[in-house]
């Protein structure tokens, strides 16, 4: 009895402490990421600002030098690194400054502070790959209210009326390409499954629905399951091993990202079903390309992030230079398909993503 009366308040106090701890730790983490990323590129940004303020009155013909900010979903991913390279090349060609800033994880928690701190720098235009269809609406609204045009690259937000333009890879077409490639390998018959990442991501959801709708065109093929691996290869491996058990006629798995591909490839080779169950995956990151080359996966749908970045910079420039009429509201960039057979073909390898870029 005595024990109980002593422990309960202690437990409460501890629970309260935990809550405070989480809140304060998150706040610290958020501040840390925003301050570090802003300090990392504050020098080019401030020098750009000073250049424009001094150059603007002096130059008469070329006008002022624009500063365009590009906020990727995360800074450390080859997809966005390749997008950065494409954007930087176009920025250089047009003579504008490009700021590249973002979080190291694909999450609104790390992206929001970066976006908020960018607003204080008032760039000429914001190019952003929103990490959530709803969470980024409010900060984007603040840019628009401040007269800064916003272009969504790759991912988007629900309220597209705020956007000057939205550029994305045609993820539905990419999913359909994966479906056709698996159907061809499996001679148009058998069960297939989707191993997706997490629900609510516009791009991966579009890939999955593109795949599922395309499979409907094959009367002898059926999508028997959609699983979500939560970005864990270990989970994806378990799911695909179990899907092969639950559906003995499984001939294909569509993995919407790298971790699904790693998990599915490992599961199929562990079960000795290589050549019987085919994996179509997405994105030509070094690790997926390695899987494709060694035959752990058979199909790779490759996006063109460099083209997305290039188009975004071009449209922002058009908007700033009064050529709004030239800007398409929505741009869909088509995808490329690679197979294990074509994995080393120079016409394919030129689309592989870059793992580093310093520009």
């Amino acid at each position: 009895m005595q024990f109980k009366s002593v422990t309960r308040p202690a437990v409460r106090r501890r629970a309260l402490l935990l809550g405070v701890a989480v809140a304060s730790a998150l706040a610290v983490a958020a501040c840390g990421s925003s301050s570090s990323s802003s300090s990392a590129s504050s020098s080019p940004a401030s020098s750009a600002a000073s250049t424009s303020s001094t150059a603007a009155p002096a130059s008469s013909s070329s006008g002022k030098k624009y500063t365009i900010a590009l906020v990727p979903g995360l800074t450390v991913d080859p997809f966005y690194i390749t997008m950065h390279a494409g954007a930087a090349a176009e920025a250089k060609a047009l003579g504008v400054n490009l700021i590249w800033q973002g979080g190291t994880t694909f999450s609104p928690t790390t992206q929001l502070p970066v976006v908020e701190s960018l607003l204080a720098k008032s760039p000429s235009a914001l190019l952003i790959a929103p990490t959530d269809v709803n969470a980024l609406k409010a900060p984007i609204q603040r840019f628009v209210s401040a007269g800064i045009p916003v272009i969504a690259v790759d991912t988007t937000i629900n309220d597209t009326s705020l956007l000057t333009a939205a550029i994305t890879s045609d993820n539905t077409q990419g999913g359909a390409l994966a479906a056709d490639a698996i159907a061809k390998l499996a001679h148009d018959k058998g069960d297939v499954a989707v191993d997706n990442v997490n629900p609510g991501i516009s791009t991966t959801d579009a890939r999955a629905s593109g795949f599922i709708n395309e499979i409907k065109k094959y009367p002898n093929m059926h999508v028997v399951a959609t699983e979500y691996n939560g970005d864990s290869a270990t989970t994806a491996e378990s799911q695909v091993r179990n899907l092969m058990l639950a559906h003995p006629d499984l001939v294909g798995v569509f993995a919407t990202n790298l971790y699904g591909a790693q998990g599915a490839g490992t599961a199929i080779s562990a079960a000795g079903k290589t050549g019987k169950v085919f994996v179509a995956a997405y994105d030509a990151e070094p690790a997926t390309v390695a899987l494709l080359k060694k035959g752990a996966i058979e199909v790779l749908v490759i996006q063109q992030p460099a083209v997305e970045g290039k188009d975004a910079v071009l449209y922002a420039y058009d908007k700033l230079t009064g050529k709004s009429s030239q800007i398409p509201k929505e741009t869909l960039v088509p995808n490329i398909v690679a197979t294990t057979a074509t994995a080393s073909d120079p016409n394919i390898t030129k689309y592989y993503y870059m793992s580093s870029f310093s520009g």
Binding site: L17, A25, S232, A246
Partner: protein, 348 residues
């Protein structure tokens, strides 16, 4: 099992004070079945899923379930030691990712400079275990020397270590590894029934289970979790012991990082992300008290097995993905709730 007895010593009210009416039959039943109720839950799950999907009783299902459990079991064993001391290690998943990347980066460099494959593999494995242990010891030192709560320290290292992991290779995967590493992931014994990673995980559970249950080190671990001040006054070097306990958790996270890297022939920065939640859930389902002093490796093995069987069973029975998450969450809560009912017999 020692954990149960130690905690009972501190919590049990002498039988004479216990009124027969105050202890309902159900609670007495729960008390009697003791820690083995979790084993009953596991058996029940296997029977139910087996009836719904007979393919659960196949070699493929065993391999799927046991391979899935490897990474979580190894982390959960380290986590058991930490939780028994009334601590928590939120950083073990992040440590797994860091150790895998650190070792893989070293191996990639060594292979690129034409080191021998064997030497490279040995160096890489050592680097993974060592870097894991270093992070664990750092946690232990921060907790004991600066007197910070384990929750705060390991939450901090979870974030910081995650950042360091991305710094190692610009956040991208490493796939250039010696063949020994990928063979480690695919090799097996007993005509394919026992993959080497599963064997290693089981060996870890047995060795550390004996350490916790049968050695002075284990007894001190329970003593610190039951009553830290008491342990300190009876001569246990609490600070040094806690540093070792967090070191063990880190070391095992490094080992898990090695096995995950071997399994996918590739090191991934986000490997192990959120694993700490599964590890903590496994430990708690296994009957450990989050407030310390109680818990066994046997219980943790059963806890991990319950989560793994659920993961396999829910896919085999075609349960929709969102309901899978709901089911796993509810089982965690139910397991702990039943455990509370069981242990309340001793305290009320």
């Amino acid at each position: 099992m020692i954990g149960v007895s130690v905690s009972n010593q501190t919590q049990e009210v002498p039988p004479a004070e216990r009124s027969q009416d105050a202890v309902p039959a159900f609670q007495r039943f729960m008390e009697r079945i003791g820690a083995f109720w979790t084993l009953g839950v596991l058996i029940l799950l296997v029977v139910i899923f087996g009836a719904l999907a007979p393919s659960l009783y196949t070699k493929a299902a065993w391999l799927s379930t046991s391979s899935y459990a490897v990474e979580y079991l190894i982390l959960a064993v380290g986590q058991t030691f930490v939780i028994v001391t009334a601590g928590i290690d939120l950083s073990d998943g992040a440590t797994l990712g860091f150790a895998g990347m650190a070792g893989a980066l070293l191996m990639e460099h060594m292979l690129n400079s034409h080191s021998s494959s064997t030497l490279t593999a040995i160096a890489g494995i050592a680097a993974m275990l060592l870097s894991g242990a270093v992070i664990g010891v750092a946690n232990g030192l921060l907790i004991t020397r600066i007197k910070l709560p384990p929750f705060i320290v390991t939450l901090g290292t979870l974030t910081a270590v995650g950042g360091f992991t991305n710094l190692l290779n610009h956040g991208t995967e490493i796939t250039t590894l010696p063949t020994f590493i990928s063979n480690l992931g695919t090799a097996s014994v007993l005509s394919g029934w026992l993959p080497i990673p599963v064997l290693i995980a089981l060996a870890v559970a047995v060795v550390f289970g004996l350490v916790l249950a049968r050695t002075r080190f284990g007894l001190r671990t329970y003593a610190i979790g039951s009553n830290e001040l008491g342990a300190r006054r009876s001569g246990v070097r609490v600070d040094r012991h806690l540093v070792m306990v967090y070191g063990i958790s880190g070391l095992l996270a490094g080992l898990a990082g090695l096995l995950v890297t071997a399994n996918f022939s590739s090191a991934t920065p986000i490997a192990g992300a959120n694993d700490e939640l599964y590890a903590i859930a496994s430990v708690v389902i296994g009957g450990a008290s989050i407030f310390g002093g109680r818990g066994t490796i046997f219980g943790t093995v059963i806890g991990t097995a319950i989560l793994s069987v659920l993961t396999t069973g829910l896919v085999l029975t075609n349960v929709a993905p969102f309901w899978q998450q709901v089911a796993i969450g509810l089982v965690v809560i139910a397991a702990v709730a039943i455990d509370r009912v069981r242990t309340r017999v001793g305290t009320d």
